[in-house]
Symmetry: C2
Subunit: 426 residues, 2 copies
């Protein structure tokens, strides 16, 4: 790829803004089981179809009774009631109480017709078919009335709410088995290149195993999208056009990798150009790695072509695509922890491009954390796996001096391992 062919390279900030213009939260809903709602976003208000509780319940083990019968009860002068029966938890009472009667109830049992109060078992004495009360009971005591927690028709959870485990409890207390949430964005993933082989097949000279299908799949899931794996496509114009066209139909966003440069063998720009009228077309972003990235939109649907190199492809994904998918999925933006560090060596950068430099913590020196930058080319499959994070070097910076202060964006798994309170942020 010669630099000269990128005539209209777009600034990183502008590329980011352009994509965001097409990033709309998905508005369609889908019904899912209440046992799977955790972290999903409700797309409709939920009103309670029932009163909760929907029958008067006892909050104690004791005796359901008519409070007025007990007003004169005292420690030295108990009131005696006739024990008319018992109500078990989960059963409908087969008795109604008349004045002078009581029924044994357990916590959670239904209060029988006629009763308005429950005396705690501790304040009573049962003897054959009678119960002695040593204290007056007041009306409503130890009775949870119908609808105390929720009323039928009451708004319970509002649309737009990100559902918690607790919310799923509320939904199931209403007897709901399904609920409508916003569906997740479907993201088609296509790797292109004659050199690519799928996992598990025998390696041939000149070929390499496809990495991007696997990494982008998992990155999309983590961003809140549903990956649609469309596999590997050979560098063949007609095939690429076919698969891209059908991907635009079946998904909300299409991610292609490989074939994005402006060389004669790089077909993706031509494939995209012939899709029809493009609402957006940016070929070349002033970032490093990631210059050959293509951002395009046809009929409002985004098609993004990432560079073929796995590290470049992932860096462009996190810098430009992850914020897009999260917005469509109504997920919070992903924010990396930042750490104040110092360069272990002089670091060169390219003027005019925003550089995302993977780097590794090399040592601590007098309370300072020193970092070394790492390669991002084709020889660098292991770079991101070994990196602790990355630095962002602005467009107007040509180099960082040795021992220059800089911010490290720490990868999440490293945040767990590195004690950031020591030396880093002070």
């Amino acid at each position: 790829m010669k630099d000269s062919v990128f005539l209209k390279i777009t600034r990183f900030e502008d590329a980011f803004t352009q994509i965001q213009r097409f990033a709309h939260p998905i508005d369609e809903g889908e019904r899912i089981r209440v046992s799977e709602v955790f972290n999903r976003v409700l797309s409709r208000d939920v009103e309670s179809p029932i009163d909760v509780p929907h029958f008067p319940r006892s909050s104690r083990d004791g005796y359901a009774l008519v409070a007025a019968d007990t007003f004169r009860a005292a420690e030295d002068k108990p009131v005696t009631l006739h024990l008319a029966g018992e109500v078990h938890v989960g059963s409908k009472p087969n008795i109604g109480l008349r004045r002078g009667e009581c029924a044994k109830v357990s916590t959670g049992a239904m209060i029988p017709e006629g009763a308005d109060s429950v005396a705690m078992i501790e304040h009573t004495e049962e003897d054959h078919e009678t119960v002695k009360l040593y204290r007056p009971a007041s009306p409503g005591e130890n009775v949870i009335k119908i609808g105390t927690d929720l009323r039928a028709g009451q708004l319970v959870l509002k649309h737009g709410r990100k559902l918690t485990v607790f919310d799923s409890g509320v939904l199931s207390s209403l007897g709901l088995s399904e609920v409508e949430v916003y569906r997740k964005p479907k993201v088609a993933i296509i790797s292109t290149g004659n050199e690519l082989l799928g996992a598990g097949v025998r390696l041939e000279a000149g070929k390499v195993y496809d990495v991007n299908s696997v990494t982008i799949h998992q990155a999309v899931t983590a961003s809140g999208g549903i990956p649609l794996d469309l596999g590997i496509c050979r560098d063949d114009f007609a095939r690429m056009a076919d698969i891209v066209r059908s991907a635009l139909v079946s998904s909300d966003v299409v991610l292609v990798s490989g074939g994005t440069s402006k060389g004669p063998g790089d077909l993706m720009p031509k494939v995209i150009q012939q899709l029809g009228k493009l609402d957006l077309y940016i070929h070349g972003v002033a970032m490093k790695p990631g210059k050959p990235t293509i951002l395009s939109s046809i009929k409002g649907k985004l098609l993004i072509a990432l560079p073929g190199y796995p590290t470049s492809s992932l860096i462009v994904y996190y810098a430009l695509v992850d914020p897009l998918i999260r917005k469509m999925a109504r997920e919070q933006p992903f924010e990396l922890q930042r750490l104040k560090v110092y360069t272990a060596t002089k670091v060169y950068s390219e003027i005019g491009r925003r550089e995302f430099k993977p780097c590794r913590i090399s040592k601590r020196d007098k309370g300072r954390i020193l970092v070394k930058s790492m390669p991002t080319g084709s020889e660098a499959i292991t770079t991101l796996a070994n990196a602790d994070g990355f630095m962002v070097i602005p467009e107007n910076v040509e180099f960082l001096e040795e021992n220059e202060e800089v911010e490290l964006y720490l990868f999440p798994q490293r945040s767990e391992e590195i004690d950031c309170t020591k030396g880093g942020t002070q």
Copy 2:
């Protein structure tokens, strides 16, 4: 439930420690697809089965050649080589180079036999079957040698590593389609009670919909476990004993809810007692809510009986069970954000029990955040859904004064919504 029957109530800290004694990370592995490894923990070292790259690759578009042929090349005195052919990306070269020859190569293409260097296209001029070189090429220039990134047999990722998206890229570059990770703990979930109905069925008098099956299912997933839903069991000794016994076989941990008090209708203590020799048996934990909790272990397998009330059940889950499942699943402990707040009203607590009080931020007052406590009884299905977090009131505290400083453990979804930098933590 009378307090007096809990003769040997166990301190919360001791209960926690006892469970942890039985919490061992799962040691068995399982093979999963490399496209699903994100956040899983490798159970075996992975060594590279191949060199990466496994053929010498060009890192540039240009001409593969014998460097020694070009040592005398200069701007004003180019060296002319015979163009013997072209190597496409993904193809095995069908030519070998002799002295005086070169072959056109694209970035990523295999270097043909005999060549040891690639001249960048920018420093050459092609004319029919000859190529003029205007600069000397040095041996190895623009050639990525076999095994530059990884050597066959080299240790690539160590067992115990929590895999990232980047790691999945390394694994797929090796052509691996599967990898062995520690399996997740299987957690059986059983709700008990004659009053319970499953979702979607018609409500009857005296019955309530089962909540714990749904909430605990999702809580277990979030802790890193695999929930095994065993449904609702009636209060029937033989049935309960059967289901618990088979759950102990099919899972790593059994979670039961309901029937845990010491009343005559509460069967769970009896069911557990007849399972055989128990390595651990705690009935009654000095916490609120959650006193009737049962912690037991038979042949090293934990069986935990949670209270039936949904809020109590979830609070005990998060306080005692979540740390257990996370340890078994090799997940990081779940740490809630803490916020310095003040009580909006006087808050009563029970001496001798550690109280977990759900509460809600009621207002801000002169930069202070005020919180109100919320009910946790059977009438409180909505409490946790509406709470912003909870306070922990120690065993020796009988009440908190109005306007007393206290720590709020903020629920995660609230951390996103509440700007904690304002007034809270300063």
